[in-house]
Point group: C2
Chain length 153, copies 2
DNA sequence: TATTGTTATACTCTATAACTATA
DNA sequence: TATAGTTATAGAGTATAACAATA
C-alpha cells in the first residue's frame, strides 16, 4: 500500500515528508512554528516574545505566585524563569517582593506599567489566533482546543 | 460569567492561565514542548535533535532535493538549513552533490551511514508518538492529525 | 536534607544582512 | 536582476551543574 501523498504544505512544493507525516508531534511543532511566526509579525516590540508575554500574562492572572510555580506552569527550567522575570523587572513591569512566610521565594507582581501591557498582549495574541482559526470551522477549533488540553493535562 | 477554572496542567498546581487558556496557539506550543521533551529523553545522542532528525528524514524521503526546498518544507531560514546540512555532512551522514544543471545549488543525498539512521529515528519518534497518543483515543488522534494538517497546509 | 533562586556555562535555534557564485 | 548558498553576527531559548540562602 502506497503512503498517501501528503502535501502538508504548499511551501513544501511536493516534498515527501516520509515518516514525519505520521507524527502528530511533528505536526504540532510545525503548527506552533507557523503560529509563533505570525505572533512575532504582529508584535511591534520584537523583544516581547511569545514566552515573555506568557510569563507576564501568568503573573497578571496569578499575582504573588513564585518563580517555581511559574516555571512548572510553562514547563521552563528555573533558570529560564529567573531570566524571564529579570527581563520584565529590568523594564519596570514586574516586581519581586520578599515573602515574609518563606524568605527563599519571591512573590511576583506586575507594576502599573506591566498591567498596562496585559490587554495589549491579549489583543496581539488574539490577532494571531484569528489567522490560526481562519483555517478551521468554529466546531473544529473547539475540538482542537479540547484535544490539546487533553494532551497537556 | 466566570472563566471556567482550567487546570491545563497538574504541574501548574492550579495556576490560572488567564487569556492564554483561550489561545490555541499557546496550547499548541505547550503540547509541542511536552512532545519535544519526551523525544529528547528517548534520543541517546543528545546532538540528534528533533530539527536535525527532521532534516535527515526529509532528505531520506527526497534524495537530491536542495537546501532551499528543505528550508521551505520545514519553515527554516536558508542559513538554518545550511547549518543543519553542515551538521550531517561533518558526521559523514549526508552529501552535497553539485547539480550540473544548476551549479548554484546542491543535490542532497544520504550516505550509507545516514541511511542507517533513518529507521532508528523513525523508531525513536514513534516512541514519543505513543506517549502522546496514549492520552487520546484512536479516533481523537486521527481527528487531531486532520486538524493539524488543515492548519499547516 | 530539601527547596528557592541565582550564576556560570554551553549549546541549539533562529533570523537578518552582506557576500559569492551562478542563472 | 534574481536565486542558491555561505558567513558573520546577534539574540532568544534551553538545560545542567554548582552555589547561597532558607526551610
Amino acid at each position: 500500500m502506497a503512503r498517501p501523498t501528503m502535501a502538508i504544505d504548499d511551501a513544501g512544493q511536493g516534498l515527501d515528508y516520509g515518516f514525519l507525516a505520521d507524527r502528530i508531534g511533528f505536526l504540532l511543532r510545525m503548527a506552533s512554528v507557523i503560529n509563533l511566526a505570525q505572533l512575532a509579525r504582529d508584535t511591534p516590540d520584537k523583544a516581547h516574545t511569545s514566552q515573555r508575554m506568557s510569563v507576564l500574562a501568568l503573573v497578571a492572572a496569578n499575582p504573588g505566585t513564585s518563580q517555581v510555580r511559574l516555571s512548572e506552569a510553562l514547563r521552563l527550567s528555573r533558570p529560564a524563569a529567573t531570566l524571564a522575570v529579570d527581563f520584565w523587572q529590568e523594564r519596570g513591569c514586574m516586581e519581586r517582593r520578599v515573602d515574609p512566610d518563606d524568605r527563599r521565594s519571591y512573590g511576583l507582581f506586575l507594576t502599573p506599567a506591566g498591567e498596562a501591557l496585559v490587554p495589549l498582549f491579549a489583543e496581539i495574541s488574539r490577532e494571531a489566533e484569528v489567522s490560526l482559526r481562519d483555517r478551521l470551522t468554529e466546531a473544529e477549533a473547539v475540538e482542537l482546543r479540547r484535544l490539546l488540553v487533553k494532551i497537556i493535562d
